[in-house]
């Protein structure tokens, strides 16, 4: 049977097609604001702590070095704190040593796919929560400068791997006593080691890492080793959000701990 579409009489206006006229910004009844508010508070506390830590000079309590100041690359660093004994930045560099390297981990977290979600939601309210209207009139996302620069993430990932390895090296060196003998296990060494593991786990679980291992391939079967790596990274990647938070707090705790030991505030045996 042939179907014929019923034609609209010429003089009848086309029905207007519009969205439901609902003025409320959201009809959600749960506490949707709680999550972005907590995220905002947590990220702000990290920023404030980081700012203080950069300018705090007590970053070395032999054999511990505070993660926010590692690697120490300036001549102003105490002898034992220097990375591999090197001080490529000479006397002329008088600013805090942390400033030299913090750009890498900071850039890594700033362009991280998870942190992007969290600060777009909690700082920029774009959107604050799902189904809640955002306050901005225009939106162009990551299509143009400056947000198109988020695509640089993988380069920060390369840098973050380097920093992660250095933190691991520092954590291993922490298993020595004040005279440099191995086998000394202080609470600080354990804290630094746990922190290094969490930082590495967060770094490796990165979406860019997942892409580099094998995500960019269409034929896993032709690259069995890379496929194995991808499978491993994918498992970690599912926990990227949790690792981002845990490693953020662990690095703050580890950093604060070393500074408190350096200041003499924490002074019990096996500190």
């Amino acid at each position: 049977m042939t179907q014929t579409a019923a034609e609209r009489p010429v003089n009848e206006p086309t029905p207007r097609r519009q969205r439901a006229d609902i003025k409320a910004r959201t009809l959600r009844t749960d506490r949707w604001w709680l999550n972005p508010a907590l995220t905002f508070a947590a990220l702000m506390s990290f920023l404030v702590y980081g700012f203080w830590a950069i300018f705090d000079q007590s970053y070395f309590a032999d054999p511990y070095i505070a993660p926010f100041s590692a690697p120490c690359l300036a001549t102003s660093c105490p002898e034992g704190a220097r990375f591999l004994g090197l001080a490529p930045f000479g006397d002329w560099y008088t600013l805090p040593p942390g400033l030299l390297i913090l750009g890498l981990p900071a850039g890594f977290r700033l362009t991280c796919y998870y942190y992007r979600k969290s600060y777009y939601r909690s700082f920029w309210l774009s959107p604050p929560a799902c189904g809640v209207g955002e306050p901005h009139k225009k939106y162009s996302g990551e299509t143009r400068f400056p947000l198109i620069m988020q695509n640089v993430h993988r380069y920060f990932f390369y840098g973050a791997i380097l920093i992660g390895l250095i933190l691991t090296y520092d954590a291993v060196l922490a298993f020595r006593d004040k005279d440099g003998n191995w086998g000394h296990v202080g609470l600080g060494a354990i804290i630094l080691l746990v922190n290094a593991i969490l930082i590495m786990a967060y770094t490796i679980s990165c979406h860019s890492c997942r892409h580099i291992t094998a995500g960019r391939l269409n034929h896993f079967s032709r690259h069995p080793l890379r496929y194995k790596m991808w499978t491993f990274v994918s498992k970690l990647n599912a926990k990227h959000q949790q690792l981002a938070w845990v490693s953020m707090f662990s690095v703050m705790i580890a950093d604060l701990y070393v500074r408190l030991v350096a200041k003499g505030i924490i002074a019990f045996p096996f500190a």
Partner: protein, 256 residues
Amino acid sequence: MGYKAKFRVWRGEAGEGALEDFVVEVNEGEVVLDVIHRLQATQAPDLAVRWNCKAGKCGSCSMEINGKPRLGCMARMSTFTEEETITVTPMRTFPVIKDLVTDVSFNYEKAREIPSFTPPKGVAPGEYRMQQVDVERSQEFRKCIECFMCNNVCHVIRDHEENKQAFAGPRFLMRIAELDMHPYDVEDRQNSAQDEHGLGYCNITKCCTEVCPEHIKITDNALIPMKERVVDRRYDPLVWLGNKIFRRTKEKTPKA
């Protein structure tokens, strides 16, 4: 045990309308769609609602329940308290035809803009040979039931209607990712994802993943991998250099 629930349902045509209050009976084991049907049967015979399978597999009864996009047939009444008022509205991003029924043709238009699966020349259907591991990733995206709740919740078009022209929405960016990851597809999906389908608009706030009734990891497994592929193609000087030095062709090479 049954009780009387307070419902507020948006009623209107072509955009104009208002929330209407109802008190309606609810019995044990029911879902929101059952209650909407009871409203139709007892108090509002002209209430329009689109539905079909009642099993969360056809994607017809997408609506917003207390402001959250949900399938009416999968929203259990037992998850609400007996005292609370349940607000049911049509999907906000799409124009309303009547009551809870929206015109979702935006999605069909966007679907048509994506070139279909394009095998290499000289390979006939029936000659495709691929390993399970090579197609596994794309198979997750095939679970999509096209309820369009991801496109509805995405703030890029939900809060900015003017972006509808430029942005295909998570559902169709996922479709592009599915084809781009296919071992036998040779069409250039990466440039078009960025230039024609608005992948750059996505700011990965993951609402699409949150509302997906099939629990597809849209953001982590489709949108971000697609963004990374676009970076390879457009923004990474090292990849560009590597392609030049090792004379990698841009064309995908499907071999079994």
